[in-house]
Amino acid sequence: MNDLRIINIEKKYNSRLPKNDSAFTLQPIGLTIKEGEFFSLLGPSGCGKTTLLKLVAGLIRADGGEIRMDDFDLTAVPPEDRRFAMVFQKSLLFPHMTVEENVAFGLKMQKVSKKMRLDQARNMLEHVGLQGFGFRHPDELSGGQQQRVALARALVAHPRLLLMDEPFSALDPSLREDMRELLRQIQKEFRVTVLFVTHDREEAFYLSDRIGVMSEGELLQVGTAQNLRDHPDTTKVAAFLGLKNLIEGTVTNGYFSSKLEEFEIPVPHLIEEGSCFLILRPEAIQLMPEGVIPGADAMHIRGEIQQLIFNHGFYIGKLKTANHQLECSFSSQQAKNMAAGQMVDLMISLNDIHIVKK
């Protein structure tokens, strides 16, 4: 199996100035990426995800640890001999070569004959929807087209691993969606293993089989998109995934009580005692039907609507309860009968709440 194994790889950047203690450290990271998998590293800028990518590529020398593929140790192999490919944020097409020559460059380096490599380049250009563009020079293409060429150039030599460093972040939003779709399609078609770096969680959720969330040089959690969203290990992960309604509190004797003494709910006994956060996902919060009394398996929330914001076909309601600010989502239908300043009764099933350690 051509799995990529990252074993305790680490990197320290010593700050040159002794006063500056913000020297960056990438904590030892262990990770296995399966053949044909689309794996994303998600994290805010400066969290070390690009460093990790470049360590895998070999463009940066690691301070410790190993990169293995197919059970070969690649740590000491220079990047040009790893048979990996990389797409950068900028397309980096060689300006003095035509599009075709750019795509064929990798094959040229492998000493493939001219006719063969140009044939394959044309074929690959067709796959990214750029047939007939081969004779043009890169400066005659738009940003999106350039990035397509960069993708074709990376794939033409059938790399064992495709590394992508925020490849679409310089494109405008609609183009970014097209590129996402194209990449998804092509990745399926060529069954190429992809290690993708992004700070855009929608992009990561849309494309990835698995996602690794990174922060401050640490890999916090690895899992599928749904897994991460439903069961974030820590509040950092939750916060980065954009989860709303984090309520601080403690768990004692099988009960969670919020710090500001508003909520008290039973929790499964599996949960360790100590300080923690309660997460109420906005979409899990339901409007309580009139005349219904919430049962023991649900939590009751009462609050005043402060604001209703229209967003992608539903409404985001900002709610003020006794001590907290909560966010919940309402359908257009529900929002019709609401107005700012109104008191509403809401409930959430205990199955839908999640508690994470601090």
């Binding site: 590529a57 490919a85 060689f94 035509t98 380096m109 492998q110």
Partner: protein, 271 residues
Amino acid sequence: MNKTSWLTKIILVVVLMLFIGLPFLLLVLSSISFGWQWPNILPESFSFRSWEYVLTGSSDTWRAVGFSLLIAVTVTAVNILLAVPAAKSLVRNQLRAKWLFEAIIFAPIVIPPFVAVMGIHLTFLRLGLTETVLGVVLAHLSPTLPYMVRAVVISYNTLSVDWEDQARMLGAGTISRFYHVVLPHIMPGIAAGASLSILISLSQYLITFIIGSGQVVTLPILLFPFISGGDPAIASAYSLLFAGIAILTLLGMDAALKKYYQKKKTATGKA
């Protein structure tokens, strides 16, 4: 609008003629004059005596031209070989004493050549390099290298490491990376540096004179005695020849550069 643009054009042409054309015209006149004395505005009689002397006859002109070009081209070639790696390390490496290296490389621009050449002369005497073309070539490096390095450094500065990283990820080794990615990018810088290097080397008098000790005869060495008191007609003819050689060399380099880029373009066109 149209009228003013015409006017500026005419003024520009007149100024150009005054500052560039006129001195040349005077040189041409002077070179073909015979006894051009005050208060005559134009020479009284003309003769091609000086040109005859310069171009044919007993003079060493063509040998000197050959040496001048040989030295200038060799110096420039050595400069390119030295400047490209130097520029790479100056730009890419985070050196602690970078300012020191830069100061040493750029010192010849600031320090008068006479100061340095005395020391060089002494050393070369011991090494037996005086009176040789090799010695002159080595001595010419010091005033020319700074310009070459400067030009290539500026080109290198505009080449982000990402380009080389990209080429690496596509499987390009050190040599391929340099040839396919770095060289095309820094070519304009190399060309600019090479023009300066050739011109400076061609016009060296002092260094050639001291290190060559009169045995390595370049064009300026032939030219100077005539300027400083000999025959103004012959000095003029030499000056024109000198200018002609310099211009031809630059044009030749320009053509070579254009050919280089054309080759790249047609190669891509056919591909």
